[in-house]
Amino acid sequence: MSNTAWETLSNQAVATAGIVYFLALVVYLAEWAALRQPAADRELVGAGAGDAEPAGQAPEPATGAATPRGERVAFLGRLGLLLTVLGCAAHLVGLVGRGMAADPNRVPWGNMYEFTLTGTFVVALLYLVLYRRFGLGWMGPLVVGFVVATLMIAVIWLYGAVAPLTEALNSPWLVIHVISAIIATGAFTLGGIASIMYLVRMRAERRAEAAGRELSPWLARVPRLDALDRLAYRVHAFAFPVWTFAVLITGPIWAHEAWSRYWNWDPKEVWAFITWVVYAGYLHARATAGWKGRKAALLALVGLATLWFNFIGINYFSTTSQHSYAAERPEILRPAQVSGLSGG
């Protein structure tokens, strides 16, 4: 296959992935709508979610329900999952195509478009991998919604044609540094979604209690607060060492090879460090009385915000970053170094 054929394939696969994810989102929304059933069979749902069963898993009230509505909800849930799997497969084809289209072939992490493509892929893949273990059925619409939205941003604003890597990127460390950074980003994003739901459910629970009514059916499907908190912690606890490896070990090693200084306080590095420190704060917060739960969740979201700001925002915000992939800088020379010269 020629390079252009690969590139076309990649573009088509990404478009397909987007559409399939979108369909998945629609199905999940239909599922959500189906959950808002009349009071008659809501009893079942409420019972499933509200009892004191200590399992950490999300109760799956609807799937077992013998009512036609319950069946429909279960069916829609399965369909949504299937579509997510298909979307993820197309997504993978899109990524592989990007790598094959380049000459010489390479990992598809050369520019913002490719980073975002990979980042969203990791979010979707991690979701599917963890689906069973953590009972993540309830998370479907959020994950797919996030992936669709970010893919759209990537395609519309970040797209760049396939091109060879800039020289500094041409290193084995690229592979290892970027893959770990992207995996961590995907995991932090999933963890962040869990933290958001923690806050949402907490608020909803308070309100429901104040008003003396039950939680809405969809929220009732979301795991209980302690389980959510634990889920968020586990995902963050996975992501944090990976992030440490990416930005504080492989990043500096590579920076040292390419730019002679392993840590340069470059804006991208600064924000990676900020993210690291905030998540370290999150891990501390969970062990500090008074910060457990809500404040820890808020901190996790601050971490997530710094992470995505660094991933996309800083490229447009700062012009001094050597990491500004958005604004291509085809020479290896840094103007700063030239200007620093003086006679003699």
Binding site: P54, A55, G56, A161, V162, P164, T166, E167, N170, S171, W173, R234, P241, T244, F245, L248, I249, H256, E257, A258, W259, S260, R261, Y262, N264, W265, P267, V270, W271, F273, I274, V277, V278, G281, H284, A285, R286, T288, G290, L299, F317, S318, T319, T320, E328, R329, P330, E331, I332, L333, P335, A336, Q337, V338, S339, G340, L341, S342, G343, G344
Partner: protein, 531 residues
Amino acid sequence: MTADSRRPGELNARELGRWMWRQITSMRTALLLLLLLALAAIPGSVIPQADVDSLAVTRWKDEHPKLTPLYERLDLFSVYSSPWFSAIYLLLVLSLVGCIVPRLLVYYRGLRAQPPAAPRHLTRLPVHASYATDLSPAEVLDRARAVLGRRHRVRASTGSTSGAADDFVAAERGYLREAGNLVFHLSVLIVLAGVAMGSLWGYQGGVILVQGTTFSNNLTQYDDFKPGGLFGQDRLEDFRFSVDKFSVDWLKEGPRFGQARRFEADVSYRVGDGKAKRYDLRVNHPLEVDGTEVFLIGHGYAPVITVRDGSGEVVCTGPTVFLPRDASFLSYGVVKCNDAKPGRIGLDGLFFPTFEMRDGNPVTVFGDDLNPTLSMLAYTGDLGLEDGRSQSVYVLDKSKATPLTKPDGKPLRIDLQPGDTVNLPDGLGSVTFDRVDPWIRVQISQTPGKGIALVGMILALIGLCASLFIRPRRVWVRAVPAGAGAAGTMDGTQGGGGTLVEVAVLDRSGNGEMDEVLTTVLEQLQKDPRS
């Protein structure tokens, strides 16, 4: 001694000190300091930093004359070495030490201690279960010891004090979690030590070398040099290297048209009086000589320009480094010939690697030197060279110079291609463009402590993983004859004559799924021993 003479409510210095120490080393303080550190790092990513991009700092200062003094006072152009940033992380280090040392002692003691005895009321623990069995209590406890012993440390059953054996088994696991946590926090200190060594004893220097020239590693040869606080000249390794050939691949098609790739400098180097060796200096492929590293970080063009003065004498010759202004390698440079007679000659202007006229404008269409062209203006008279002030070789002081003009009064523009010569008016001499040589810019640096920082960081990662993924827990199993009434439980589980077993699991990390653990333990305990 002051205790009795003290008024109520007053703390003595010792107590105050202890109180402050406790505040500083508290988890909450650590958390706040971490957040403060994150916050304090932000300005440096928005405001240009002198260490990172001094040009950007200068430009910023020009654009914001009002804010500049304030920013300077707040060290906002060097955030990461400012007193206030340092204060935060030093406090954090203090807090860290104060936090770690006592915990090390506690941990050491804990390592040798037995798992604690079972609480009296196991069923009051959050995760517990009980069941009845036909086995005798002793059999149950033996079983529990066997089951738990595989993956836990089990409390030695003596019962020596009361004379009777314990009616419970206590087991604990996950000691490595705390060890991992301690290793992680200690490693943070190691990393900081490594980084500090680098900034105290290391140095960074840069120099531009035209193809064919040789660099000897001593201070006078550097264009710029940034030593660490404790750097001494004797740390400069005795070596020299020459740039034999530099080559670049230019992309002639595709979306990155015009981008340069595969920068490659053939270098031969020699340490002390040793043998000359060759090295292929590339991006991501630095040359290391006895702890000093040489990095290829830039390149450009040095047109070889020869200036003859009025008497035909060569007064300036050789490659002149022109600095690229943008990615197209349109470059700017100057030539200063002080000894020319009858008048000094100064030139400044642009170098176009691939010159073309587009819509009446001179442009360079490519970075490669396919159609190298010089376009300069000439000056004579006072070039600002005699007042002894050192001057950049890349700047021509034209404030008092006289521009050379054509007969019609327009400035004389000297446009040259390799081999061309132009005569200057008024018998001042001539300018010849001989050829173009490439130059490279190398960064030469020593970073002592980088190995220490790396090892520290790897240790930190290992400790971190241990700390995050090991789930410490305690398990207790109590077996008492049914009917004897296990402490406080009468929840309908006792059967006539059998044994009542209570199992409780305590999560020591707050993150585990203890229900699963309990289920497993119960399953193992209740498995038919004869099967």
